[in-house]
């Protein structure tokens, strides 16, 4: 039995009637990986997660967890646990009963299941809230309860459906640190669906970018950022300019571009359309003479030495070694 992978998808397909939501995707997720499924809405990432969880039947293909084909097993037999987008805590039960729910379903006696539930509440630092109802907790606290409830079954794979989208931006950064810490401590695979490339880059060991039901690129975040394979990926992960070149399209990182004067090196002429101050960097958006939108991320010091304003004519320059050819997908 090949157990080097926690999760394997083998040309997994999902059809709704005649529409293809997920088109024969294959993916291998090694042991103890933080995997982010990333893509714009409607790309099939949530459907993929729900198929792995067993809440959506697979139309074609197979899903393996720890080498075992689980395509036809109910969720509880797969060794997965899911944390839902809105957390889906049971509103009529105390936090303790929420966390102990799966033990109760298995017929574990009250004393034992409450003891175990308290351990998991402590794991997520919510021990003091055991007797509260979910409605009395903040979004971040509800999320911890949901996490404890999902972890109490000791899943081999934890599935998270946009777990941070209901939180405010400050909390989001804090909670994602905690998710990563927890994943390291538990050593199990997390599969995390998100549409935010920041989130994916901050968390993922393996970043899987999806579009139109296909996996477009799956690699560590740094590789995806440095070598996006297609114009779609380059644009979707952001901070990239997609430019025309004699042999097709190329990508160059916005922070490797600057405003300057045309010389022998690669450059493009255009007009500044927006200037955004971002703190350490200033983003200068331009429209090229060919009508493409490009931008340069310039360190603030550099920018203010020679500031530009919307309406100015400018030239975007970069060096050849920073360009990267794109495939048409």
């Amino acid at each position: 039995m090949d157990n080097r992978f926690d999760v394997e998808l083998i040309s997994v397909t999902k059809r709704y009637g005649t529409t293809l939501a997920v088109d024969a995707i294959s993916l291998r997720i090694p042991r103890g990986t933080y995997c982010c499924l990333l893509g714009p809405s409607g790309c099939g990432k949530t459907t993929t997660l729900r198929m792995i969880a067993g809440h959506e039947a697979v139309s074609d293909g197979d899903i393996l967890i720890h080498g075992e084909n689980v395509s036809d097993l109910p969720p509880i037999k797969r060794g997965t646990a899911m944390m839902f987008q809105s957390y889906a805590l049971f509103p009529h039960m105390s936090c303790l009963d929420n966390v102990a729910f799966s033990l109760k379903m298995r017929g574990v006696a009250k004393k034992e299941r409450h003891g175990r539930a308290r351990e998991y509440l402590a794991l997520v630092h919510m021990a003091d809230y055991a007797d509260r109802l979910p409605g009395q907790l903040s979004g971040g606290q509800q999320q911890r309860i949901a996490l404890a409830r999902a972890l109490i079954n000791r899943p081999r794979v934890l599935l998270l459906d946009e777990p941070l989208s209901a939180l405010d931006p400050f909390l989001r950064v804090k909670v994602r640190e905690e998710l990563k810490r927890l994943q390291r401590e538990l050593g199990i695979t997390f599969i995390h669906v998100t549409h935010s490339q920041d989130e994916a880059m901050a968390l993922a060991d393996l970043m899987v970018v999806m579009q139109d039901g296909h996996i477009r690129q799956s690699a560590p975040p740094r590789e995806v950022f440095e070598r996006p394979i297609s114009p779609f990926i380059a644009r979707f992960i952001g901070s990239h300019n997609v430019l025309r070149a004699p042999h097709g399209q190329i990508a160059v990182r916005a922070d490797r571009c600057r405003l300057g004067v045309a010389n022998d090196g690669p450059h493009v002429n255009g007009q500044v359309i927006a200037v955004e101050y971002q703190g350490a960097m200033v983003r200068v958006a331009m429209k090229t003479d060919a009508g493409d939108e490009v931008s340069a991320l310039v360190p603030d010091q550099t920018f203010y030495r020679q500031p530009a304003e919307p309406g100015d004519l400018a030239t975007l320059v970069w060096s050849e070694q920073d360009t990267h050819a794109l495939m048409q997908v």
Binding site: A53, G54, H55, P74, P75, I76, T80, A81, M82, F84, Q85, S86, A88, L89, F90, P91, H92, S94, F101, S102, K104, M105, R106, D131, R132, L133, Q136, R149, A150, N153
Partner: protein, 278 residues
């Protein structure tokens, strides 16, 4: 200085306020008169003035008279309303859950189910009565009358359950499944408890609809009357303050029911508060 928005209420407020006052008087005035007149003295009639006060008409209610047997018809009404209420809850909860998913023919089925709300109730009763006669069956309380009342309470229950189920997050059920609950456990521990306030509403609504139903019941009841039919018979045959006493008593019963329901809700809330405090 610019003109400020006036802090005084516009004249329309007083017009509409008066209209509302008149409406309240129209709604509660007659009922109030009935409550007062039910304590009419033994020699008094069905109108003012009061000739002394007594509870003799209340005693009358509980004595099986020649014209009407109020206690027996009351218990019949309660029994029927209880059965109607239970059936309505079971069927409309199941249907409400089922209709969450669109299936082939679901729209047609839905319109078929609710069409009886717009059918003239007397005709529905007439049709059922006629059908029983045609088949040679004896109409009675728990056959034809029960069926006739269900044609009224089931569409109501279905509509009410749609509103309740609409606010039900499917992720709760998926979470239960994800945590290993069997379909039965899911229903028992998650779906029903979360829907419970709505279910109680449907039960009470169906109970009330059945309890004072007249038009559909009158042609399907057979020889033994429910309370509304008995009261109607009483009105058309003889008029005495007994009718008012019945009115006062039924109002009392209704208030008692509401009071009990409130107590239950309060107890549920207190239990939740205890969970919180513990």
């Amino acid at each position: 200085m610019t003109a400020r928005i006036s802090e005084k209420r516009p004249w329309t407020f007083y017009v509409l306020g008066t209209l509302f006052g008149v409406y309240l008087l129209f709604l509660y005035g007659p009922m109030f008169v009935i409550y007062v007149l039910s304590f009419q003295g033994p020699n008094g009639g069905v109108t003012f003035p009061m000739v002394g006060t007594s509870v003799v008409w209340f005693k009358e209610v509980f004595q099986p008279g020649q014209m009407a047997d109020i206690p027996v018809s009351f218990s019949r009404s309660i029994a029927l309303a209880t059965v109607v209420s239970c059936l309505t809850v079971i069927i409309s909860v199941a249907a409400g859950l089922g209709f969450r998913r669109r299936f082939p023919g679901s729209a047609v089925l839905f319109y078929l189910a609710v069409a009886s709300l717009v059918m003239p109730s007397l005709l529905v009763g007439f049709g059922i009565g006629l059908g029983f006669q045609f088949l040679g069956w004896q109409p009675s309380l728990f056959t034809s009358a029960l069926g006739a009342q269900l044609t009224w309470t089931l569409p109501f229950g279905l509509f009410a359950m749609f509103a309740v189920v609409n606010r039900f997050n499917r992720a709760w059920e998926e979470a239960a499944t994800d945590l290993g609950a069997s379909p039965w456990q899911r229903l028992r521990y998650v779906t029903i408890p979360i829907l419970l306030p709505g279910i109680i509403g449907v039960a009470m609504g169906a109970f009330t609809l059945s309890y004072d139903e007249y038009a559909r019941t009158t042609l399907t009841i057979g020889p033994k009357n429910t309370l509304p039919l008995e009261i109607y018979a009483l009105i058309s045959s003889a008029t005495s303050p007994t009718l008012f006493a019945i009115g006062t008593l039924t109002t009392g019963v209704s208030f008692l029911a509401i009071f009990i329901a409130l107590l239950l809700v309060l107890r549920m809330q207190r239990r939740r508060a205890l969970i919180k405090a513990a």
